[in-house]
Symmetry: C2
DNA sequence: CTGAAAGCGCTAACAA
DNA sequence: TTGTTAGCGCTTTCAG
């Protein structure tokens, strides 16, 4: 906090100082600074001038104490090293700032002692006006019941049991369905799934969408393989999947895993997309530039963050309003070069005629 | 902020309430909650019990107002969608929490109106105890002079002119030198550079290191090509570089650009690493899984964040101490498959015998 | 349109 | 080891 006259040094100017200098009452300064009505143009100018000259800065602790509001939103973030959560966070920050709110962020590492509940508690103590929980995972308990509105980002509606809980997110199931259907439409008889960690609601939704698409065509879903979102886990899964006889198409729950998978398949002598088609999820910036460029599904993170935050701010500023859910965002499949129609595999699975370029 | 008896509803419990319930003075509650000495074990237990029963939560606005400290660190972040800045941020968050500080984050988009100065101002108003500026860019002005300690992360010492400014970061020049020397040691006669945006200090350092390595071997640095950190810009640069006659090795200022570059070279009929070697920078998680796996230089983001934050916390809690600089972190070059010795190029630059796998 | 007085819930001295 | 007394700098009534 600002200098407080340590060693008898100068104290930061307060609104009374501004008032004195401007020749008005302290309350009037407050009025000007808060943009309230009923201040004459002349007074307003004098106050602003005085504040400027003194280098005055509002003390937000005092304001929070007196008003009971901090104009700060707390964010509980998980996996911010991942593209999806990180993008969501960026969007939230922008939207919050536009609405005049600051963000206090607590990163819950997966497997954190306190978990989401602890993070929420620490934010409440910090006096936030509202809370965003980004990309939650299933921790059993429902930590979302508290005395400020909570926005759950990236979870299906109904996840956070609390009734004051707001939700925003893409229709991940629909996106996953679209990805799977793209492969089926290409002529693949079945689609294998490289799933995300099932503690994440996001991973569950994608798996559900994949399953729905297959079942809608009367196709028995093959056993999914579970990764941890990382390219390394995708690589490991790829070695396992490469051994499956009916492998001609894989839907991976995110792009990183899809890329690791692609490397494993390539090393196993399976070409992408000639032998196996791969679809990712997220459309990370690199997806268009890896080889082969990855077909994937794009999540409109910005729109989700913006819509969700609007909901939250409304709930904060108008506690009696109905809590609605943000509208679903449209599906967007980005078709690049990692998918193609299947082609008959020779029984013995011969290695391709020429070794792949740039292999290990 | 917490409920305040809206509609005559219940007011959140205060420390006086806890005191009353525990049968002690309010000050004693404060003592217990702050872990001060000279509290009998019996009293401590009674207070904690009462607090628990009441569901008491500290009001940090009141504490901040009374104590003049918020235990909050403000972060000015740029490019949090990029791997480097994002990793740094994650490390800062962890380290801050371990030290008992919360983080308030302001994302300065490049080209933001207020710029870093505006972000700093808003953080000061928010009453932060210290400020972290992550991966700064050169905006001309020096916005770092203010009444709280400032830590500049990822900039060369001496960047933030203020004397109270702390610095932490890798020795990016050394890392860039190591990358370049790796290529020279492999036998390449020269190394081209795909630079980052030169407003970023990080980009300048990498360019400087590259230049130093070449000049140390009496080699005239070829004109660098500038990208914007994105794979797309790396791709564009790759098309340009592919036309250069003496192109056998490129050092890219980050991995994303290196990957875009690789795709462009591949499409131009140049194989990586047979025809052209590519080195990246950062060691993003995908670097090991793209094809070919990328040789790159690893930045110890965690160590940088931790060391830097320790410095900052020390400066906050002990304003009179000397401001030292964090120690330099060791260089780490990760050699994978995108680099190889050069081989004589045929004058007419014939396309390779077989087209690359998985091209567009 | 403007001002005066009364806290917000906590910590900081100082006393006991 | 514990309690008392003042504020911290703002916003909120309620009067002018």
């Amino acid at each position: 906090m600002r200098a407080r006259g340590r060693d008898g040094g100068p104290t930061a100017p307060r609104s009374v100082d501004v008032a004195e200098r401007a020749g008005v009452s302290q309350k009037t300064v407050s009025r000007v600074l808060n943009g309230e009505r009923y201040v004459s143009e002349d007074v307003r100018r004098r106050v602003l001038e005085a504040a400027e000259q003194l280098g005055y800065r509002l003390n937000s602790a005092a304001r929070a104490l007196a008003s009971g509001r901090t104009r700060t939103i707390g964010v509980v973030a998980l996996g911010t090293a991942l593209f999806g959560p990180a993008s969501l966070l960026l969007g939230v920050e922008r939207a919050a700032r536009d609405a005049g709110y600051a963000l206090t962020i607590v990163n819950t590492l997966e497997g954190d002692p306190g978990g989401v509940g602890g993070a929420v508690r620490s934010l409440l103590e910090r006096g936030v006006d509202g809370i965003v929980v980004s990309e939650p995972i299933d921790e059993g308990a429902d930590p979302f019941s508290c005395d400020v509105p909570v926005l759950v980002l990236g979870a299906p509606a109904g996840t956070g049991a609390g009734e004051r809980t707001l939700c925003a997110g893409v229709d991940a199931e629909a996106l996953a369905r679209a990805a799977t259907e793209h492969l089926l439409d290409l002529g693949h008889l079945t689609v294998h799934h490289l799933a995300g960690p099932q503690r994440w609601f996001a991973a569950r939704d994608r798996m559900a969408g994949w399953r729905q698409a297959l079942e809608a065509r009367g196709c028995e879903p093959p056993a999914p393989v579970e990764g941890d979102w990382s390219a390394a886990s995708g690589y490991a899964a790829g070695r396992e999947l490469a051994a499956r006889d009916d492998l001609t198409a894989v839907f991976a729950a995110n792009d990183d895993m899809a890329i690791g998978l692609t490397r494993a398949l390539t090393e196993a002598g399976l070409r992408v997309p000639e032998d196996v088609s791969v679809v990712g999820f997220d459309d990370v910036p690199l997806a268009a530039y890896v080889l082969p460029p990855l077909t994937t599904v794009r999540q409109p993170f910005d729109a989700v963050a913006r819509d969700g935050l609007r909901l939250l701010v409304r709930a904060i500023e108008n506690p009696d309003a109905e809590s609605s859910t943000a509208r679903k965002q449209p599906v967007e499949l980005v078709v690049r070069s990692s998918t193609a129609p299947p082609r008959p595999r020779d029984p013995g699975r011969l290695p391709p005629a020429a070794p792949p370029t740039g292999g290990l």
